[in-house]
């Protein structure tokens, strides 16, 4: 019965969105709708649709176990966030190699040499294409 939960979360989100919307300034002269109008419509739509789903969920077929990947999935998600934090201080080359290596260990356990080669090669090739060829800015970090 995931649908009821999805509906309930949608209602909560809609309420939060409504509270945020009501703190926005009111419409100004010559702009009858104002910055509030669309968010206001959307928050009521979320509340209504969420309630509808919670009260009348779809035919309950199991959608597979939620978070069935267990600790690996948690670790992979954490690595995604970690990358945002270490990219600037460590620089593209170091940060990407580390995070990619860790991801490969999660996806492809027991092959340290292969994973290492893939992580280093991918980082080097993408740096070559995006930084050298396309001129995308990449932070240098510790190597700078």
């Amino acid at each position: 019965m995931h649908d009821r939960a999805v509906g309930a979360v949608t209602v909560l989100f809609g309420v939060a969105f409504l509270i945020g919307t009501l703190r926005l300034p009111e419409a100004l002269l010559g702009d009858p709708a104002g910055p509030r109008m669309l968010p206001l419509i959307l928050s009521w739509a979320l509340i209504g649709l969420g309630a509808l789903l919670a009260l009348r969920p779809g035919p309950g077929r199991p959608a597979g176990r939620l978070w069935g990947g267990g600790w690996r999935l948690t670790a992979a998600s954490a690595l995604l966030v970690l990358y945002a934090f270490i990219l600037t201080p460590l620089g593209y080359l170091v940060a990407t190699t580390i995070v990619l290596m860790a991801l490969l260990v999660l996806y492809n356990p027991g092959r340290p040499v292969l994973n290492g080669i893939v992580a280093v090669a991918f980082t080097a090739v993408t740096y070559g294409i995006f930084h050298t060829l396309l001129g995308v800015y990449m932070p240098k970090g510790v190597l700078g």
């Binding site: 995931h2 649908d3 939960a5 999805v6 949608t10 989100f13 969105f17 945020g20 926005l24 300034p25 100004l28 702009d31 009858p32 709708a33 104002g34 910055p35 109008m37 669309l38 968010p39 959307l42 928050s43 739509a45 979320l46 649709l49 969420g50 509808l52 789903l53 779809g58 959608a63 597979g64 939620l66 978070w67 069935g68 990947g69 999935l73 992979a76 998600s77 995604l80 966030v81 990358y83 945002a84 934090f85 990219l87 600037t88 990407t96 995070v99 990619l100 490969l104 999660l106 996806y107 492809n108 893939v118 991918f122 980082t123 993408t126 995006f130 396309l134 995308v136 800015y137 990449m138």
Partner: protein
């Protein structure tokens, strides 16, 4: 018919730079199509940053090539692995995989390449003739008409994206809500930024798209890697047809082309619906219904032609109205805006060389794809052997670069991580992601046209029901939500 403009388009398309990026785009698209688990939407999103340094014409030609190239190539994994990369090739996999298991993988691949080529080319011809009249019609639209048209397109996608209609609508409203984040231009009011300066310009659609498609796909893949493997079919024998197989296929291809193009033009329907309609049509018309599901070549020829014609048809609303009718074209629209272009009726007047150059390039693109998918398919098939356990982490790696290259912002990277997990949850909870993306891409346009309309009417909502086109579109929007449940209830009643 602006023959001059069309001919100029061919001249533009034949410029060496443009030809090169056309080739690159179709090649990359084919690769994306062949890689199992990476659909056209993910592929386009990941490749958008490649176009940042280019001028708009080659960038656009390349992105379009990626788009229809991925639609072409998607049949390969459907047939050989029974692993369709996107919903539009699910129908192809039903009989295609069975043909492959019965020792005719070459014939299945050949007919999907030939069918895609014929239907795709017919689709471009139709696009060439239809695009301008539609754009001229749209020039007469005021803000009220545009607002209701966008609303209709959004609701249609939410309703037709499969599964529970209410969940589709929830995803749509969430997408629209995301689009409100940032400084609102008309009043200068900052909305839902929570004081984060990076959010003042709003949430970049590419961050969300890469999160909910590429990253989420990799997370779902991590979960499924342990679960079990699929039976791979080796490609043996020539990629060609027997005379009898061809005779069975040409009518399905032509019918698929018509069904596909018409469905593709309609907002919201697109390639997936086109392939389903084509499959059911062929099954109904066939004298050997029992063969369907067990390797009937008509069941490959029809849907595969239909989904390619549909991808051409979906270029009509994208280019002429600036309103995408499907997930992949919504991402294309986002890409266009990032390249500094605003598609819509005025594009044909302001940038005729660009539009006609793009359309002309699609004729050549189709030809390149025929070559890539027929004689060269055996090379691409080798890519299928790249194990998912290596491929999926690399998709995440590409996502990092793709997102970072937009604004060089680590806030974007953190948002991508959040949307990756959100996308995973949506997938598991069967909330479709397509309406979310559509809402995010079109949210600003919807609000702008709505407020313009209300400014004209002095705040009265009556403006949306006083104009005939606007009323028709509103009625259509209501019907598209209300009709499916009513029809299925009627069917259930009749079955009793």
């Amino acid at each position: 018919m602006p023959i001059d403009a069309i001919l100029h388009g061919f001249v533009v398309a034949l410029e060496p730079t443009n030809l090169f990026f056309l080739f690159l785009g179709t090649l990359l698209g084919t690769l994306i199509g062949v890689l199992p688990g990476i659909g056209p939407s993910t592929g386009i999103a990941l490749l958008i940053p490649l176009g940042f340094g280019l001028s708009p014409t080659p960038a656009l030609i390349m992105m379009a090539g990626v788009y229809y190239g991925a639609m072409y190539g998607g049949s390969t994994t459907s047939i050989l692995l029974n692993a369709p990369g996107e919903a539009a090739s699910v129908m192809t996999s039903i009989d295609g995989y069975q043909m492959a298991r019965k020792g005719r993988p070459g014939a299945a691949l050949a007919i999907s390449a030939i069918g895609s080529f014929i239907a795709g080319t017919l689709g471009i011809v139709a696009l060439t003739f239809v695009a301008l009249p539609v754009a001229e019609l749209a020039l007469r639209f005021g803000p009220a008409e545009f607002c209701t048209l966008i609303l209709f397109a959004l609701v249609a996608v939410a309703s037709l994206s499969g599964g529970h209609v209410v969940k589709g609508l929830i995803a749509l409203v969430l997408g629209l809500a995301l689009a409100t984040v940032g400084i609102e231009l008309q009043s200068g009011v900052s909305r839902f930024t929570f004081g984060v300066a990076e959010l003042d310009d709003g949430i970049d659609f590419l961050v969300v798209v890469i999160g909910v498609f590429a990253v989420a796909e990799s997370l779902v893949g991590l979960e499924e890697l342990a679960a079990g493997t699929r039976e791979n079919v080796r490609l043996a024998g020539p990629v060609w047809l027997t005379m009898d197989e061809w005779r069975r296929s040409y009518w399905p291809i032509l019918r698929g082309a018509v069904i596909g193009f018409v469905t593709g033009v309609l907002p919201g329907a697109g390639a997936t619906v086109a392939s389903v309609v084509s499959y059911t049509t062929e099954k109904r018309l066939s004298k050997r219904k029992e063969e369907f599901g067990h390797g009937a070549i008509e069941g490959v020829a029809g849907p595969e032609s239909a989904n390619n014609a549909a991808s051409m048809g979906s270029m009509v609303p994208l280019l002429s109205l600036g309103i995408p009718g499907s997930n992949a074209t919504a991402i294309m629209l986002g890409a266009l805006m990032m390249y500094g272009l605003q598609p819509g009726p005025l594009l044909f007047q302001k940038q005729p060389l660009l539009v006609w150059g793009l359309i002309a390039s699609m004729y050549f693109g189709n030809l390149i794809l025929l070559i890539l998918n027929l004689p060269l398919v055996k090379l691409f098939v080798k890519i299928i052997d790249v194990p998912q356990r290596i491929l999926l982490p690399l998709v995440i790696g590409l996502s990092f670069i793709g997102v970072y290259s937009i604004n060089s912002s680590v806030v974007d990277l953190a948002l991508m991580a959040v949307f990756g997990v959100v996308g995973y949850l949506m997938r598991k909870l069967e909330v479709p992601a397509a309406p979310l993306v559509m809402g995010l891409v079109l949210g600003k346009m919807l609000e702008e046209s709505m407020r313009q309309a209300l400014a004209i009417s002095g705040g009265s909502y009556a403006i949306f029901v006083e104009r005939p086109i606007a009323v028709a579109l509103l009625v259509a929007a209501v019907l598209v939500v209300a009709a499916p449940p009513i029809v299925s209830r009627l069917r259930r009643l009749r079955a009793r």
